[in-house]
């Protein structure tokens, strides 16, 4: 558990980066600090591992005031991942990952064995271990950064905009990977980002900071989207928050009904779904006989946002539902999905 008690940071030039922060990060959760630049989110993060010391107030990690701990010792127990990964260019990937175990006094052999395990854990092939960071893609470097931070199995992980330098598709993959790792490892993670989408996607709780280092709201993402504390938070979470909040509504009650596929006889004048031999959707056969690409696919059991998007993006108006293996399960209509959403309101 990490606790901020009345923490203020005033820099030498007089700017107040963090102003009277009171906040508790529960153990074993991902907490995201989000806000515009200059809002004090990174400064707050860096006060946890004493990269910055507060002007006043107390930061506690597992009940211990961090100011009472020798910084290098404190940091050995706190994983740290930054933008661009901050990997050592002169060390191989494996040696990068082995850094903290070696600093903690492990033998070289044991540290390397552990490093190899971690590469596997973050989904990197073992042979990458012999390469230098410059020979890796941005996404791979970030994975190495995460592996390095986890190497000595620290209970706390600080992540400072770790995924903002990679492209959106890779970023989403890394976010999924982080959530998968967290389900396995159960760390206390503080994650800083300026991207509210990223914040609501990975955070179990989200702390929204405003300029001047003031905490504007601290809540689970669903609550943040549904009930922003004030105009600043409402503005920051963005125009689509009504739609995005559907990510937190489960789709139980949405009726999935069967659909005609193009390989069945008859059915002229209607939209029919094209499927391959494994019944994976391939697109739609339009009433005029032409084949058009399909919309987004909704994996059965996911939040209602995916179901609605599948229906809205489908050329036939029917959202295609698939099972976990990507095989056709049926279709949903936008009207029904909206009915379910409406019924949840009451």
């Amino acid at each position: 558990m990490i606790e901020f008690r009345g923490v203020t940071k005033r820099f030498d030039d007089g700017t107040i980066a963090v102003n009277g922060l009171d906040l508790v990060v529960e153990a074993g959760t991902i907490t995201v600090f989000v806000g515009p630049s200059g809002c004090g989110k990174t400064t707050s993060l860096r006060m946890v591992n004493r990269m910055i010391d507060p002007t006043s107030g107390t930061v506690l990690v597992d009940g211990r005031d961090v100011l009472t701990v020798d910084p290098p010792k404190l940091r050995l127990g706190i994983g740290y991942v930054i933008q661009q990964a901050g990997l050592f260019p002169h060390r191989t990937v494996l040696d990068n990952v082995a850094t903290v175990p070696l600093l903690s006094g492990w033998s070289k052999g044991r540290a390397r064995t552990r490093a190899a395990e971690l590469l596997e854990l973050v989904g990197l092939p073992a042979e990458l271990g012999r390469r230098y960071p410059v020979q890796l893609s941005g996404g791979q470097q970030q994975r190495v950064g995460v592996a390095r931070a986890l190497a000595a199995d620290p209970p706390v992980l600080l992540m400072d905009e770790p995924f903002s330098a990679v492209d959106p598709v890779v970023r989403e993959g890394l976010q999924d990977e982080l959530l998968r790792l967290q389900a396995e490892l159960d760390k206390t993670i503080v994650f800083v980002t300026h991207d509210i989408d990223e914040a609501v996607r990975i955070g179990e709780k989200v702390a929204v900071f405003r300029e001047g280092g003031v905490l504007a709201q601290y809540a689970p993402p669903a609550e943040l989207l549904a009930r922003p504390a004030d105009d600043f938070v409402a503005g920051f979470v963005g125009k689509d928050r009504g739609y995005r909040s559907l990510s937190f509504v489960d789709a139980a009650g949405v009726e999935v009904r069967p659909v005609e596929t193009a390989d069945e006889p008859g059915g002229d004048g209607r939209w029919r779904l094209v499927v391959d031999a494994d019944r994976r959707p391939q697109g739609w056969r339009a009433p005029d006989g032409s084949t058009v690409p399909g919309g987004s696919l909704y994996e059965s059991g996911g939040p209602v946002r995916g179901a609605l998007d599948a229906a809205l993006s489908s050329p036939s108006g029917l959202g295609v539902v698939v099972d976990a293996e990507g095989r056709l399960a049926g279709v949903v209509e936008a009207r029904q999905v909206l009915d379910v959403i409406e019924s949840r309101r009451g």
Partner: protein, 219 residues
């Protein structure tokens, strides 16, 4: 050319050439080694205390403009050595090479990406360990470029020492000039160039050996 062959035909001359060459090697390389250590220390100080940067780099520029002959002549008076003592040359060249190397060291240290040093600090490196295992290795490519210039500069400057009577290949120039005899001068030039080339190749090899990572991206 005939002169050169005749000059070299004498066994005593060949032995003298060997001893001059060996003198030249240690007179030029010992100051280089000392200078690298001094420049790294000075560079580290400038890197940590940025206010000193302008002063130290400015001072090293001034030092580098002192004529070498003057420095060779002044040092015995200042430190009380004999005029012919090789310590004079070693000290003078150490001063020059250190002055030459401080700036590249500071620049190399400043060029280490801030996110890399920040990551090292955040992982629990103590300052000394961080310097020795992260910042210094990363500054080797820039440092090596400076050391190569320093080695060439030293090998040529040692010759000037011959004017005040310290050994080395420069003796061939002073002798040849005094006797109006071209052969030793030609041999002196060839040996000096060859020495500079060999030392430079060795330095490049050494640099490549300790910085395999610097070429990894181009493979």
């Amino acid at each position: 050319m005939g002169d050169v062959v005749k000059y070299l035909s004498d066994a005593g001359t060949r032995a003298a050439l060997w001893s001059m060459l060996l003198d030249h090697v240690w007179l030029s390389l010992l100051p280089l080694v000392i200078s690298v250590v001094l420049a790294v220390v000075l560079g580290l100080v400038c890197h940590r205390y940025r206010r000193l940067n302008g002063f130290v780099v400015g001072l090293s520029n001034v030092v580098y403009t002192i004529p070498s002959l003057a420095l060779f002549a002044i040092i015995p008076a200042v430190i009380g050595t004999q005029v012919l003592n090789p310590v004079n040359v070693v000290l003078a060249l150490t001063i020059y090479t250190t002055a030459l190397l401080v700036r590249p060291v500071v620049e190399a240290l400043n060029a280490v990406p801030a996110h890399v040093t920040a990551a090292a600090t955040a992982m629990g490196f103590r300052p000394w360990r961080r310097f020795l295992t992260v910042e210094l290795p990363l500054s080797v490519p820039v440092l090596a470029a400076g050391v190569r210039v320093g080695s060439v500069s030293n090998i040529s400057l040692v010759s000037v020492g011959a004017l005040i009577g310290t050994g080395g290949l420069g003796t061939l120039f002073t002798d040849g000039f005094r006797q109006r005899y071209l052969a030793p001068i030609a041999i002196g030039i060839v040996l000096t160039l060859a020495l500079a080339l060999v030392v430079d190749l060795l330095l490049v090899g050494l640099r490549n050996l300790v910085t395999p990572w610097a070429r990894a991206g181009r493979a």
